[in-house]
Symmetry: C2
Subunit: 863 residues, 2 copies
């Protein structure tokens, strides 16, 4: 199977697998150069694997690349069929295509493999085959790249050579320098033990660099250290290097956020005893009778039973929270800026300033073959037939429309499903609660609230985790249906779809709690306890964050791979001793064959983006979120590091200038966070009603009387038939007037139970707060964005100096040339005409734009 | 004076001056090459002028560059003084500096001129002097750039040579092609008559290209045509080319906005008779008595006297306005996107894709010399002395702080002054109005409103125009004080300051009218008429836009230069015949010496940005603004073209990739426009109160009764002492209850004159509208931004194809080299080692990053 070639892996120990590291050390101490060809001279740079015998699991897809196997053979059959010039038999295209696939498969294989190897040799690579000595059915193709091929590719990539002259950029005055030195000394233990010289020349000894990565990076014992980003990039390529650099910056930036968040929480704890509204609620003298919270089953209750909740919610609902959400909005802006600068710096250090990403088509006849694949897979016969009849297969808008519409509707339906799940959980809560209310057991009753909240949150969590996996598969299917033209476009579309679905999944219960809970009372007949909505939001966030991270990290990222490995070992029918012996006989590339494939960075990024959403979007309701995120990420970095170094095949090094679409998603999130926080503060928390009470209604300017002000009166004789409580005497006395939390007119006013003037005044204040908050924070974010230059000053200075160096060099060369020309001119008068023309680089022109050139000249003279 | 050299001008007819063009044609018909050196061979590319005799007006500043003269000599004296190593005499540094300046001036002059000319010769330029034959006191230095110098500079600028292979990008199918052809044919008369081939080779014949520009661009008769942007860029350079391209795109984009705006206005006109509220106001049966609009002087009035205003304001205050402001917000986003694409396309066509702007220092010892200049100019002695005593003159934050603080406070004060002016105009209105109210002349009274509004708007306009000039000078002074490091930074800071000041100046009366007018009633005791605030805003906008454009365009841009020229002629003591004879004897560069200098593009851009602000910011109150702007710009383009071609010296061609900071300002404005429009619609217009009435209060769901609903009751017995009208019987009957426009409780309620529930409900609705409008429009703008790719598809395809071409070329070259090397290797075994190394471009490196290179190789093979 030729396409298996795609699973490229290097023989350089891309991964330490499960071998003890010590043996590796002693094993490789001799030949530092790593594995070589049979001649012992030429180094092995890459290893490709292929199946020698007919593969067992032909239609089994193992990874994204696996699909391409089918594509290739389909493409071949397509081109064969086109040769006939007649439309294919109409009998059953699906069956026909499948038959073709099987027929051509065997003939195709050997021919295409030879063709492929010839292509590699044509590019100047040297090959060596290693077929079937240890692992039955698997062949290895070792590749060596000679020096001149490397040189040519270096020129293509425009790799820069370090110049002899190095400009040292001084950082201001002596004092500043001394401070910098002090900081460097103080943070010295935080830096990984990678000697810069060794890191530079490490590539000849990749084994060593892997060893360093294992010791200084992929270990929990160094969790407090910076990551050796330079080494990571050298070993894994720029794309993965950028991911870890980003993760590092994010984690680092979480430290101040976590500290401030903890302080805000502690402030809440410290002031809980001075909070007048909760004191009033807990005060037994305020003997307020509340109306029932649901129809019939519930009865009247005393406000002071909500004392605990009121006190607890003060922890998260205090003026410091407002400050904290402004802080976090600015924090997000700072983070984005900080990352831009770091990225720019890495671009400079990694010589990527001139690099431009090229978009690679998925396959030469992209649209035709992909669509064919998709159609045959989902048996959309009509499209298939149309395609066969057309000569020029180019997808127009009308071809694409069905796929887009399918995508859109499926997405909408899935988001709908997500909300339906939330609704289901609500129904569960209502029914359980009503059932428990009915029961006469008093201990059951007191535990009602905690039980219901806890179980509901856990159910939500489990559903979120299950749906996450479903949505991942769904997004991939939808993207395939859209037939994107290039790899990059495929990845971006997939990411956007996955993001929307997973985000809706993770946040729908939270959004419901934050914005709809307290307002659907007439519909669901179920209210938050007094000041309790924020509290519940907080519990939900807490469980989702902790649970999701714990379960997804530990179970999915560590547990499942381990289980898979165990199962694989079981299957091989060897005991552990035999297994170990067998392993010892294997060469490195053979060992690596048993490792799992690298599945891309998207899942890692996605997890972090969702976490970033939790940290920024609902920070007003849960100031401890950054702290949780920080703790998680400290583990996450080392966990990912371990995975990359030891558990998957070494990924192909890919160049990348930036983190691509993830940056846009982060930016979008931090924008949305501003408005969401504005709404959480003004609508979910009691911040605005308290302010309004204090400055507009309070007789003495204090918060005394606030609780009474928020409660409206209800005359029990106004109950709709069939809604009055079944146990009106539950509290031991007959209730005439009960209270409920809303701003409505009294029963004895002209317009009983209408929304009162206070309601409208508070609503206006809430909205005014949203407008002011949103615009002020957006302005401040833009200001931060504008204030911090995107390119660090020292880097821009360095680039400028290098440019000057280039100009000097060029001028010197020109002068030398002129001298040469002059001396030539004395000898023969014809030569100078031809020389300059031949020397001119082919991509520069001699177009006459005299005035511009002179202008540039004069500018350089600094007149 | 050496620095006069800075006023570089080409001998190529940079400007046609006031000579009739016909003579030019016949004059230059023979030698198409343009003026040459005395030998008749070498072409004159640039001409510099200098004073031969001691200049009369040494300290007179004529332009921005003029200042540098002083700087240079100051720098010299500074370096002289430093040599002494002792602090300068403390007697009077200002006098001392001035003395030095005069002393060194004469010695300096000749030495520095020689040095400068030597520098030019060293760069390979050839010079010829032309001293004092026609114009006394002025010398001309002609410069010729030989071919090899041009080649060298071309390599520096990385000018691209057109390749032989040209990729034709096909635009879709046959039908699309045919449509494109039709469009091209239909718009053919709109394109200027510039043959593409001629345009390409035009530069050897600059006279001709100037002629074409004059005929096909700088003429009002071609107002409906596209501009010959390619030719403009060839003649004036990229920077000016981009300005005109931007102006063209802006004007073109104004066409749909103007059409939609006109339709919205016509819709208002058509529906004015069906508008129920204004019908109710005009209905004589609704005999509503209104409370007086000011204390004592004013009296009660009948609502139906406001009938005209109410009807007029419906023209601008109808539901279509809401649609129009959403439309304009999207229009602004579209405009920005459209311009980005156009800019990208121009960058590609003009070979600017690889060009990076270099920041040029203002002078070598920038900070020191500029600060010296600033200090001596404003006699800040202490700074001067400190500077002389220091060796290393580098400005730290503490040095810069005073300048920044001065800048900030001056700006704040000036914005304060602007608002004070607005307040002054208000006071004028109040006093005039009160005076007229007092008068018993009935005709005077009826004309009161129109008179007051008209005169106030005109006064505002005059003040705006005067302050504009003051602020321009002030911004320059403040920027100089800040001692920016580079030219670009100087320009940007100047632009930002000028923008803030001019913007505050132009918009303060409008902002007052839009947002504060109707709300300051208790303070100023002066209210808009019923539904009249938007009307007045509209009048103000109309007068400001028309007046500013007419006066600034015609008077300042055309009139004043003409007057200056006239005065200059008067001074030269020749009659017109003599003058003409004298002119005929002058060479082209001598004629050009009499033209005005080019003062940069900032004023042109600034004018347009302010106009863009008018068009987008208050579009909700004045839908005709785009139409006015369109009419103005059609004239503006040709006016600017005329000015650039005939009235100023030909500017130095400057390269630029984009329009720089102006883009950011435009972007900022279109963002602010969204929120401003949201506020105008919800707070200035009656849109929200009408909606609220219709859906919450109206008994039958219609607008009937709206006017009554907006008016509160006032019991005349509740007048504060001394505020009751002097003529209570003005209407002929005794008034018990009068009405006023506000939502307040009735005099007979429990809380008389408190804000009513309706007030709060409407306020909440207004704010909700702001929140919804802002976020929806921002989302839509972002969506438009995301939807339209920044790089046009054909351009990105072309770039991609060119890259492939390069790769092919490179591979072919490599193959040739390999063959050569192999054949060499057969002859001598040592040569191949040295050859590849010497051939490698110096800025590419041979660092071994084997895995990456192989990866790139494999990617290109498309495995």
């Amino acid at each position: 199977m030729i396409c298996q070639y795609v699973s490229i892996k290097t023989i350089i120990p891309l991964s330490l697998s499960s071998q003890p590291l010590n043996s590796l050390k002693s094993d490789e101490a001799g030949p530092k150069q790593g594995p070589t060809f049979q001649d012992g001279q030429r180094r092995v740079d890459y290893v490709l694997t292929y199946h020698i015998q007919k593969p067992q699991s032909f239609r089994r897809k193992t990874s994204h690349f696996g699909d391409y196997r089918i594509l290739r053979s389909l493409r071949r059959s397509l081109s064969m069929m086109r040769g006939r010039d007649t439309p294919p038999p109409k009998e059953d295209p699906e069956v026909a295509a499948h038959k073709h696939r099987l027929d051509y498969h065997e003939d195709d294989k050997r021919f295409r493999q030879t063709e492929f190897e010839d292509n590699l040799r044509e590019m100047g690579l040297e090959l060596e085959k290693d077929e079937g000595n240890k692992i039955p059915g698997i062949g290895f193709l070792k590749i060596h790249a000679p020096w001149n091929v490397l040189c040519r590719e270096a020129e293509f990539m425009k790799l820069k050579m370090p110049t002899k002259k190095v400009y040292e950029v001084k950082q201001g005055s002596d004092v500043v320098e001394r401070i910098n030195l002090f900081i460097r000394k103080a943070t010295a233990p935080l830096h990984p033990k990678v000697e810069p010289n060794r890191a530079q020349n490490m590539l000849f000894y990749p084994l060593l660099s892997c060893q360093i990565l294992y010791d200084e990076w992929a270990s929990y014992s160094v969790f407090y250290k910076y990551q050796p980003i330079g080494l990571i990039r050298k070993y894994f390529g720029e794309k993965i290097g950028l991911y870890f650099a980003w993760l590092g910056v994010y984690t680092q930036m979480l430290i101040p956020a976590a500290i401030v968040g903890a302080i805000v929480f502690l402030y809440g704890c410290a002031t809980v005893d001075n909070d007048i509204p909760s004191m009033e609620i807990c005060d037994p003298r305020n003997n307020i009778t509340m109306c029932p919270l649901c129809d019939r089953a519930c009865s009247y209750w005393k406000l002071k039973t909500a004392c605990g909740t009121a006190r607890a919610s003060h922890l998260f609902d205090n003026p410091a929270t407002v400050f904290f959400s402004i802080f976090m909005a600015l924090w997000a802006a700072m983070f984005m800026e900080h990352w831009k600068r770091r990225q720019m710096r890495l671009n400079y250090i990694w010589d990527l300033t001139g690099f431009e990403e090229e978009e690679v088509s998925l396959c030469p006849y992209t649209t035709a073959c992909l669509l064919l694949y998709v159609c045959s897979y989902f048996s959309l016969d009509y499209v298939l037939i149309t395609l066969f009849q057309e000569k020029k297969v180019k997808l127009t808008c009308t071809d694409r429309a069905p796929a887009y519409m399918t995508g859109l509707f499926t997405m909408l339906i899935m988001v709908g499903v997500t909300f339906a799940v939330v609704f289901g959980v609500i129904l569960y809560r209502i029914s359980i609660k009503a059932a428990l209310h009915m029961s006469s057991n008093p201990t059951a009753r007191t535990n009602i609230r905690a039980t219901v909240k806890g179980t509901a949150a856990v159910i939500n969590l489990v559903i979120i985790i299950i749906m996450d996996e479903v949505y991942g598969a769904l997004a991939r299917w939808l993207t395939l249906l859209e037939v994107p033209k290039t790899d990059k476009s495929f990845e971006e579309r997939l990411i956007i779809k996955t993001f929307v679905l997973k985000f809706a999944n993770a946040f729908s219960p939270i959004v419901y709690l934050a914005f709809f809970r307290g307002r659907l009372n007439s519909l669901l007949l179920y209210l938050c306890a007094h000041a309790g909505c924020l509290m519940e939001l907080c519990i939900q966030l807490c469980i989702t964050m902790l649970g999701k991270q714990l379960i997804q990290n530990n179970l999915f990222e560590i547990g499942i791979p381990k289980i898979k490995k165990l199962i694989r070992r079981r299957k091989s029918d060897m005991d552990s001793q035999q297994q170990e012996d067998y392993n010892m006989t294997l060469q490195r590339h053979e060992k690596d064959h048993f490792l799992g494939p690298f599945v891309g960075l998207s899942p890692e990024y996605m997890e972090m983006i969702i976490q970033f959403g939790m940290v920024t979007l609902f920070v007003a309701s849960f100031p401890l979120a950054p702290l949780f995120a920080l703790l998680n990420n400290i583990i996450e970095i080392r966990l990912d590091a371990k995975k990359f170094v030891t558990e998957v095949r070494r990924p192909i090094a890919a160049r990348a200038k930036d983190i691509g679409i993830w940056y846009n998603l982060l930016r979008g999130l931090s924008k949305v966070a501003v408005i969401v926080n504005a709404f959480v503060i003004s609508f979910t928390s009691d911040f605005i009603p308290r302010l309004v009470y204090q400055y507009m209604y309070s007789p003495d300017g204090s918060m005394h009387g606030f609780v009474n002000h928020t409660l409206s009166y209800f005359n029990v004789s106004d109950f709709q038939p069939g809604t009055a409580p079944l146990q009106p005497m539950h509290l031991g006395y007959e209730v005439q007037i009960c209270r409920y939390k809303d701003y409505r007119e009294t029963p004895w006013s002209n317009t009983p139970y209408d929304l009162s003037k206070e309601f409208w005044a508070i609503l206006a204040c809430r909205l005014a707060f949203v407008v002011v908050f949103q615009n002020v924070v957006m302005l401040m974010s833009d200001f931060v964005d504008w204030l911090i230059p995107d390119i660090p000053k020292d880097i821009s200075l360095q680039i400028h100096k290098e440019k000057i160096l280039m100009v000097e060099l060029f001028m010197k060369e020109e002068e030398g040339k002129k001298l040469l020309r002059d001396s030539h001119a004395n000898q023969s008068p014809l030569q100078p005409r031809s020389r300059p023309a031949s020397h001119t680089p082919s991509n520069w022109s001699m177009q006459v734009r005299s005035s511009q050139r002179i202008c540039a000249l004069l500018t350089r003279l600094r007149i």
